[in-house]
Symmetry: C2
Subunit: 195 residues, 2 copies
DNA sequence: CCTACCGATCGGTAGG
DNA sequence: CCTACCGATCGGTAGG
């Protein structure tokens, strides 16, 4: 099954890219992980960058899909933002290698692809920002700088990709809830409505 | 002046390490920036790792010194935390290359030095955590998981090292105040006491 | 600080 | 998927 092997390689590469960075990972490091010879990798992959691109695209798709599944326009801004934050964290924790590569290693892509990623990231951030703006407009949130608050919030969530370990002390749900709670409380105009 | 040249090299290296990562930066990239030949770099530097080590240590010292200067045990936990957060941001924004290398590239150091950095990072985080714990004990802050809240807060501040540009739309003061305000509000047991 | 060099490793290919 | 190879670049050194 060609597809299976390819995904195995992508998965191994994403883990290494997260740990050592893209330039710090050689194609032979990746090959070793899936137990083939360095040159044999090119039976499955056009180039090292091609591999990074697949990983980054996959992560981008999963982030988008997670928000799609979490979005519910009928809810209050606070609830909507909490759901988006939790969805974001679930991708980070369940798709650690891909997510971390998407968040940090995309800058090693070629200029065209980099621009592509940048545009998708911007659109993704806008989805969070809109909810913040809605919350400010409705009086649920304080009158903060929505752009800066979006960056603030996503930075704290993205940081999880740097330190999360599946076997760690806190479960992904605990982390997601604790972070969402802190963020909501940071934006809220009132006392937090217990999550 | 040997020292001046050395610092010039460290400064150039820190900028490149931030932009391309440590493994993505060659010693010849660094040499080119200070307009000398690749081999000539070794008149000033024992090794590439030695350069990273200097940068990381310098940043660690500056972070520590910033907290030393900002700490005031007489104040309320909220005020103390706000001052620590602002101090942290000031190092990130004023020492961007060193700070980013300290935050991200330290993992490419040798095992011994890596452990060294890890211990300093832990101690640094403890200083934030203690203030959070004090605030919880005094009733100023909500009863959150102090460890998780510390990671949350520092992640959002450290994220600044990834996107801040000295010529950007927001000044470092605006950023520091906005982030500190959001964080304080996130932890606060009451409505935020306007910053 | 330069020139000229070292062995090792890099991403990638040819030809099975 | 392997063997055997390619030119380029890597970090680093010798000897001025």
């Amino acid at each position: 099954m060609v597809e299976t092997r390819r995904k195995q390689i992508e998965s191994a590469a994403s883990v290494l890219f997260r740990e050592r960075g893209y330039p710090g990972t050689s194609v032979r490091d990746i090959a070793r992980t899936v137990e083939i010879q360095g040159g044999s990798l090119y039976a499955h992959v056009a180039s090292k960058e091609d591999l990074l691109w697949s990983i980054v695209e996959r992560a981008a798709n999963r982030f988008d899909a997670a928000l799609d599944g979490a979005e519910n326009p009928g809810n209050s801004a606070a609830t909507r933002l909490r759901d988006l934050a939790r969805a974001h964290v679930s991708v980070v924790t369940e798709d650690l290698g891909n997510a971390a590569s998407f968040l940090h290693e995309w800058r090693f892509l070629s200029a065209t692809r980099r621009d592509d990623v940048l545009e998708r990231r911007r659109e993704y951030e806008r989805r969070f920002r809109r909810v913040i703006e809605d919350g400010i407009a409705s009086g649920e949130f304080r009158d903060v700088d929505a752009k800066l608050a979006t960056t603030w919030l996503l930075s704290s969530l993205n940081g999880i990709a740097g330190w999360y370990r599946p076997d760690g002390r806190r479960s992904q749900t605990e982390i997601a809830n604790a972070f969402a709670d802190l963020i909501l409380s940071g934006l809220s105009a009132n006392r937090r409505t217990d999550s």
